[in-house]
């Protein structure tokens, strides 16, 4: 069946949403047209504004429409001298929710992955280097993922910090709270043993 040009365009555009194929795009388009034009107009305005105005924070690379994001503008957090390096904005949210950390972040927006064409400059290493050289950071906390690429990224940053004489720490790994040992995969369990702490 053929749709009118505008409907076609809408269905086509909806497919840029992650996980949305042809069928769901169709369903979304008709649902919006039939039931929720106000919401859809709001969505279209929000999409437009965000895409036009959200940039990367000049110091941490996280998304923001200001020059500096809210966290980087916080003087208390800046004074802590702690810098936590994460792969994605979602990681910032996760750490913020833990309420444990009150320093600054550096958001890589990815991880070293040569086969995906992502090298040091694609994840902002020159900017990080510049930030570390400026001297306001007393400790770098590496919170990249515990994957091969995450480890390679952590190592790269560790070497950079060594060259600048800045202490580096890595998030500890272990058995999740509420987790049962038999459910934990053997690599995690092995690592938890190696990094066990005295009570």
């Amino acid at each position: 069946m053929k749709f009118s040009p505008l409907i076609n365009e809408l269905i086509d555009s909806l497919r840029c949403l992650p996980g949305v194929g042809a069928k769901s795009a169709q369903r979304m388009a008709f649902s919006l047209l039939q039931k929720n034009r106000t919401g859809a107009l709001k969505l279209s305005a929000a999409l437009h504004d965000a895409m036009e105005h959200v940039q990367h924070c000049e110091t941490c690379r996280n998304f923001t429409e200001q020059r500096l994001c809210e966290i980087c503008s916080d003087e208390e957090r800046t004074a802590s001298g702690l810098l936590c390096v994460v792969e994605s904005p979602q990681d910032v949210i996760a750490i913020e929710q833990s309420g444990e950390f009150s320093g600054l972040y550096f958001v890589l927006m990815g991880k070293l992955s040569p086969l995906d064409g992502i090298g040091p400059s694609e994840i902002g290493m020159p900017l990080l280097q510049q930030r570390l050289t400026e001297g306001a950071v007393n400790e770098v906390i590496l919170a990249t993922n515990f994957t091969m690429e995450g480890e390679a990224t952590a190592y790269y940053i560790t070497e950079m910090c060594k060259g600048l004489d800045i202490p580096v720490t890595r998030l500890a790994q272990g058995v999740p709270i509420g987790g049962e040992l038999e459910q934990v995969d053997s690599n995690t369990l092995g690592r938890a043993f190696k990094t066990r702490s005295s009570l």
Binding site: P18, A152, Y156
Partner: protein
């Protein structure tokens, strides 16, 4: 539809659709393979982490086309414990293999050599000889078995004190007087014997880069950037 098991290492995995991954692997049975690992990033994380590099997997594949479907994967051992520079080197090996292995051409000796290389990288303090031997092995197996002991033109033995030009697909021949980037015979012989002095390693790196270039294409290898010191 044909269904079969392969033992393989994941060379590269990228997210595909919502919960799957597009995997390029190096298998014992078929050489380089490509498959969709269904649901590996899904919530029911039964197969979670089963696209990690440097782990030997046994995977059930199906399909007759170039792109297979992968179902149950099982890790046959823990990931090879690669850290720091060794990890960079292993990523470099993966990038090289993705570039130059032909699709679905069994390469059993290559598979074993790769496995051996990973284990050496994890154990040995010096990664460079391991990488050079990996590259030299690939050159030889890909049909570019250069002679490091005889002049490619005159057939005279390579003399340690003389200079030689390297010509792609031919090999080393006595350098002309105007030659700028000649190799010293001593170093060529050392590469042939895999007798690694710091100088021989440096020359070997330059040589393998030249000799592998037809296989790797014009695009520079991204993993080489990892070895460059931060600015």
């Amino acid at each position: 539809m044909a269904e079969f098991m392969v033992e393989h290492y994941v060379l590269h995995a990228t997210p595909y659709k919502e919960t799957s991954a597009l995997v390029t692997g190096f298998s014992l049975e078929l050489g380089k393979i490509r498959y969709v690992a269904k649901g590996v990033y899904g919530k029911s994380n039964k197969f979670k982490g089963l696209t990690q590099a440097f782990t030997l997997f046994s995977t059930r594949l199906s399909g007759n086309g170039e792109l297979k479907s992968g179902y149950a994967s099982e890790a046959l051992h823990k990931p090879v414990a690669l850290q720091g520079t060794a990890l960079y080197c292993a990523l470099y090996c993966n990038e090289v293999l993705v570039r130059l292995l032909p699709h679905e051409e069994p390469f059993e000796t290559g598979f074993h050599f790769y496995q051996h290389t990973l284990q050496r990288l994890a154990k040995e303090p010096q990664a460079e000889p391991v990488l050079r031997e990996f590259e030299l092995f690939l050159l030889q197996e890909l049909g570019s078995a250069y002679d490091f002991f005889y002049d490619a033109l005159s057939n005279d033995p390579i003399a340690p004190e003389k200079s030689y030009d390297f010509v792609l697909e031919q090999g080393f021949c006595l350098a002309s007087a105007t030659s700028k980037q000649a190799f010293l015979g001593e170093h060529i012989l050392a590469i042939g014997q895999q007798n690694w002095s710091p100088q021989a390693l440096k020359v070997a790196k330059y040589f393998t880069r030249l000799a592998l270039s037809p296989y790797l294409g014009n695009k520079p290898l991204k993993s080489r950037e990892l070895f460059q010191k931060p600015l």
